[in-house]
């Protein structure tokens, strides 16, 4: 019996842990975490361990298919017919050729970040010339966290520094306990941090995994995080007077003088914002090296420091006032603020590897919950401000920005720019998101996703189902005529109301996409291309450790993915398929130019126009280019991962960052005014009140709806550690776990509330939102806010291609009304708290 352990990268979610697969006689029989991989350190989650059952799923697609039923709909049988690769690619290339006169008619739905396919599909779309490149997962995915991190952290996402934090507040996230990037690493770190006594406070409508392990669970009414954060700021800044004045003066725009019009007072001529130097008792430019004590209180030159405006602003939110909004008792909030403020240890330092750093062992972390909201930006931003005013950003114990800076294998570093503020985030690949600060100048849109009307947002795809129904209204004289997509299930996962997505997909004359199994998105395809299992793939980028790795001083890493078993006969590597499409269109040169740029490939490693490569050769070139000749594909095949040590500067960039962070968003005023002008020229009436420099609490539609009476509950989504993402939905082992717990496929409702409605545990109920009405099974629980219905996971499949997942659980996104009233005008996030009725 031939038996060997093969190192590769997991692909059961976007994280990409290091694994070793035991292969006997060509059959994968076991998977273990790679103990040498610094990301997961040998451990694995349930879904990753279950990957073999995905590999051997007999319902996988192994040959190209075309539809024979011209009618497309959520429940239409496509009438699949097997076709050859040549027919499939000829058809796709011909369709692409047909829209070359106006390449923006192509929409590329590229999200699938377990491997290279994502970057290659985006490069194909860019080489073709379309701006319609969708590179994010859900209608909340990164909408606020990315811009916030770009201009107030430098990296891509955020993580509490579990190595040193002593007081960690998790808001609408189950960081390290049920979800998030670098899951296995942070889960172990979280267990260690809790064991050494770090306090965890979970503020969440649902008392799920994180709440269950927290020192304290504080239920909050959905959509009211802003009110909570502003009250916390008020207690800290105005009642307790706890803040890091030194940090605020020298590392933020807190001392920038703001005039009565809300704009900075600028030096005539240079246009630089001014500060008042308390030492010399006169105004100076913000970058004047002689300004030794920029005042953050008082006044000067007709303006007041931004910090004073912030303090005054948050005073409008005493805990007694927000208690009614959030349902968090004022006394509880005051205690939390005090505990948080004291734990932050303002002024303390610690020494790591001989370098003395500020030590702020307290932080607030947030993710999907707050940002998936009608006012998502302002729901989340004041939560980040809690860390900023404590100086707890990118220092030991505080909040850390992921992958913000690095020196190996090449250097990337965030930089300051406009007005001395952090402007450029760091990226290991030179592929930045749309600029978050100072944003872009809004113009009349030509993009179908209206990107031009969201000058501060990172993503835009949530607009597509809305605009495609009403193109003339936005002055768009064309339509999306073709979609290419990755093998993910965006229909269920990336939007809201399914009728809207159905109608969007129906409006696209030709759709081709990859499939592992026929999911609901594939039901709309004209051509389906088979996509290999992650255990059959080869990738240079094998997960998201390039953007959301674990933070802190633990080693960083690069790993590749190699195929551990032979793919089924006829299966092709997706990169080679994409390369062939580019070649058939005569775009190979442009396509390679983009890949060479994105992967920093220079001679002699750069891909050469006119040549096609096996993917293994491309990976070999990339590996040698990045890590030296000795670290070629052969080396990675043997070792799996290269460990990359991080020094103190890379781990804790705060003190080394030559840029200030904002506490006052002056540019929001400018962008808001510009946008107002464009909107009014277009004859639209948009509420642009979110374009304000200081956050206010603004009620969302669901908050008002339950006050008006027709609806009495708010549905929210939460995550299960064994269903993170949805790649395990068709996995029979994961399904079995979901079936054996009442918390996965059922909807959670507060026991007392349910009983008052005559609903018993396990009852079949109707869950009705303004968008749809679905049948669900009720799980009565004490672990949920009385005004909330909790929906877990990403279920509710009906595709015949997913017989295991079919008919189980419900799809949360389908409950969400999808219109401009439910879109955050700053971030494009779709509101994920939705008013519902629950009845038998």
């Amino acid at each position: 019996m031939a038996s060997k352990w093969v190192p590769t990268a997991c692909g059961m979610c976007y994280v990409g842990c290091g694994i070793r697969v035991l292969v006997e006689d060509g059959v994968a029989v076991s998977i273990e975490g790679d103990p040498n991989n610094p990301q997961n350190q040998g451990v694995m989650c349930a879904k990753g361990k279950a990957g073999i059952m995905n590999l051997y799923n007999p319902h996988r697609i192994k040959v190209p298919l075309k539809r024979t039923n011209p009618k497309r709909g959520l429940h239409e049988d496509p009438g699949w017919k097997e076709i050859s690769w040549d027919e499939a690619l000829t058809t796709i290339a011909a369709k692409l050729d047909g829209i070359r006169d106006d390449p923006k008619k192509l929409y590329v739905q590229a999200w699938e970040v377990t491997g290279d396919c994502f970057y290659w599909l985006l490069a194909l779309g860019s080489a073709f010339g379309t701006p319609h490149l969708m590179g994010n997962a859900s209608a909340t995915c990164g909408k606020v966290i990315h811009p916030v991190e770009f201009f107030s952290g430098g990296g891509f996402h955020q993580q509490p520094d579990l190595h040193y934090c002593n007081y960690c507040i998790l808001i609408g996230t189950q960081f390290g306990l049920g979800a998030r990037g670098a899951f296995n690493h942070i889960t172990l770190d979280m267990a260690e941090a809790r064991a050494r006594g770090m306090k965890v406070v979970v503020i969440d409508p649902v008392g799920s995994y994180a709440a269950s392990k927290a020192n304290e669970w504080i239920p909050i009414r959905p959509g009211t995080d802003t009110a909570f954060a502003l009250s916390m700021l008020h207690v800290l800044l105005n009642e307790l007077g706890i803040y890091d004045a030194r940090f605020l003066k020298h590392k933020t725009n807190a001392p920038y003088l703001v005039g009565s019009n809300g704009r900075y007072i600028r030096e005539p001529g240079s246009g630089k914002p001014l500060v008042f130097d308390a030492t010399d008792q006169r105004v100076k430019t913000h970058d004047d090296p002689t300004a030794s004590d920029p005042a953050i209180t008082g006044a000067g030159e007709g303006g007041r420091p931004a910090f004073e405006l912030l303090r005054e602003h948050v005073a409008k939110y005493p805990p007694e006032k927000t208690e009614e909004i959030t349902t968090i008792p004022a006394a509880t909030l005051r205690r939390l603020a005090q505990e948080f403020g004291e734990a932050a240890s303002v002024g303390a330092t610690m020494t790591i590897d001989g370098v003395t750093l500020p030590y702020r062992p307290a932080c607030v972390d947030w993710a999907k919950g707050p940002q998936g909201h009608k006012h998502g930006f302002h729901q989340s931003w004041p939560l980040k401000l809690l860390n900023i005013v404590m100086g707890a950003v990118n220092v030991p114990g505080g909040i850390l920005s992921t992958a913000a800076a690095g020196k190996r294998p090449h250097r990337w570093w965030p930089e300051g720019g406009t007005d001395g503020l952090l402007e450029e985030g760091g990226h290991v690949l030179p592929l930045p998101h749309p600029k978050a600060f100072p944003g872009r100048t809004p113009t009349k849109p030509f993009r179908m996703d209206l990107a031009e009307l969201f000058p501060l947002a990172p993503h835009f795809h949530t607009l597509l189902p809305i605009t495609c129904q009403d193109r003339e209204r936005y002055g768009l004289s064309y339509g999306i005529e073709m979609m290419l997509h990755a093998p993910t299930n965006s229909l269920l996962g990336s939007f809201g109301d399914l009728k809207m997505v159905e109608s969007f997909y129906q409006s696209i004359p030709f759709i081709a996409g990859f499939a592992v199994e026929i999911n609901e998105t594939n039901l709309f395809d004209d051509i389906v291309l088979p996509f290999p299992s992650y255990l059959e793939r080869s990738d240079f980028v094998a997960g998201t450790n390039l953007l959301i790795p674990h933070c802190g001083k633990d080693d960083w890493l690069w790993q590749i993915r190699q195929s551990v078993v032979e793919p089924p006969a006829g299966m092709r590597q997706p990169q080679e398929v994409i390369m062939e499409i580019a070649d058939r269109l005569g775009l190979l040169g442009d396509f390679y130019r983009l890949l060479n740029h994105a992967f920093r490939l220079k001679e002699p490693y750069a891909l050469q126009p006119g040549q096609r490569y096996p993917i293994t050769e491309v990976i070999d070139r990339m590996a040698r280019s990045w890590f030296g000749e000795e670290h070629d594909l052969g080396w990675f095949r043997e070792h799996g991962v290269i460990r990359i040590p991080r020094d103190v500067e890379e781990a804790y960039i705060g003190p080394f960052l030559e840029a200030r962070l904002p506490i006052y968003l002056e540019h929001f005023l400018q962008r808001g005014e510009e946008l107002k002008e464009v909107i009014s020229q277009m004859g639209l009436e948009w509420d642009l009140s979110d374009y304000r420099p200081l956050s206010d609490w603004m009620p969302c539609p669901s908050y008002n709806a339950i006050r008006n009476g027709r609806y009495d509950l708010i549905a929210v989504h939460y995550k299960l550690p064994y269903v993170y993402g949805s790649f395990g939905n068709e996995n029979p082992w994961i399904n079995e776990i979901c079936e054996r717990t009442p918390y996965a496929y059922n909807v959670l409702v507060n026991e007392d509330v349910a009983k008052a409605k005559g609903i018993s545990d396990g009852d079949e109920v109707w869950l009705e939102s303004p968008a749809t009405k679905v049948r669900a099974k009720a799980k009565l629980t004490q672990c949920i806010h009385p005004q909330v219905v909790g929906v877990a996971g990403h279920f509710g499949h009906w595709s015949p291609g997913m017989p295991i997942a079919r008919g189980k659980g419900i799809n949360f996104n389908s409950l969400l009304p999808t219109d401009l009233e439910h879109i955050d005008k700053i971030s494009t996030a779709l509101d994920h708290c939705v008013e519902v009725r629950l009845y038998k």
């Binding site: 451990v43 361990k49 267990a191 550690p721 079995e736 629980t781 672990c783």
Partner: protein
């Protein structure tokens, strides 16, 4: 003392009412009732009963293991840290992939239950599996000698060639961790996947199967698969006869209980709380 849910809820309510006690502390104190949890349940028809070990019993057991160091063979055991366990089910799946157990059979699983009343409510997680008892009730009831205790290290194992599937041991086991597969069907029916075709060779249908502490791995010097994968390192495996082993230290230093210690089975498994 055994306490029921109502008592625990009353206690939680009392703590909440007491003025001056921060909720954090109140929750912590509430968690102390953890070991007094009377019933754990998962799904319909499945019920588990646990009682806390008497403090004296635990100490005595501990002493015994210390004494056992002199000339005694290893006694493989496990400590499950309930503070660390987050209910992620990684161990459940690790067991599946390692042992190729068929649909509906879980040698290792994590039960969850709720305790408390809103807002002082939370879920509790309890990984359960064969406890490899020192005095296992399942062994003497076996009519063929298929169930046996491996003298060299205290593992409770089954010789499936000898097992006639009479189920006496399933009835005798107070922990409900012995199983019998009626057939060899896999997760996709009669036709096994290439993986199942290999892994199903590790057990036989119509005979009894259960957790072996991954005996093949142990014999090869490896930890059981569930221990190897646990993302919070909540599972600790080792020799209970070695006072210097990590798990002996955990049992010594932390409050703990053995599942239904009052039955006198002397499980080789400790929950630390």
């Amino acid at each position: 003392m055994l306490q029921d849910l109502a008592t625990i809820r009353k206690l939680a309510g009392k703590l909440r009412e007491r003025s001056g006690i921060p909720v954090v502390e109140s929750c912590a104190r509430w968690c102390e009732t953890y070991t007094q949890v009377a019933q754990w349940s998962l799904g319909e028809g499945e019920r588990f009963e646990f009682m806390p070990a008497q403090e004296e019993t635990a100490m005595e057991t501990n002493k015994k293991t210390v004494a056992g160091k002199n000339g005694r063979p290893p006694r493989w055991g496990m400590v499950i840290d309930l503070k660390r366990c987050i209910g992620c089910q990684s161990c459940t799946i690790a067991c599946k992939v390692e042992n190729g157990t068929p649909p509906g059979i879980f040698w290792m699983r994590v039960l969850e239950k709720e305790e408390g009343k809103y807002p002082l409510a939370r879920k509790l997680f309890l990984p359960v599996r064969c406890n490899h008892c020192s005095d296992p009730p399942c062994v003497p009831v076996c009519p063929t000698g298929a169930s046996y205790k491996r003298e060299k290290d205290n593992l409770v194992l089954i010789n499936q060639d000898k097992c006639i599937g009479c189920r006496a041991c399933i009835v005798a086991c107070p922990y409900q961790v012995r199983f019998l597969a009626e057939d060899s069907n896999g997760y996709y029916g009669e036709e096994l996947t290439p993986y199942e075709a290999k892994s199903y060779q590790k057990w036989q249908p119509r005979t009894v199967q259960k957790c072996t502490f991954c005996v093949d791995r142990i014999d090869g010097g490896l930890e059981p698969a569930c221990v190897q994968t646990c993302p919070t390192r909540a599972l600790v495996f080792g020799d209970l006869n070695d006072p210097e082993s990590e798990l002996s230290k955990l049992v010594r230093e932390r409050s703990h209980f053995q599942p239904r210690a009052e039955l006198g089975t002397d499980p080789s498994l400790y929950y630390v709380t």
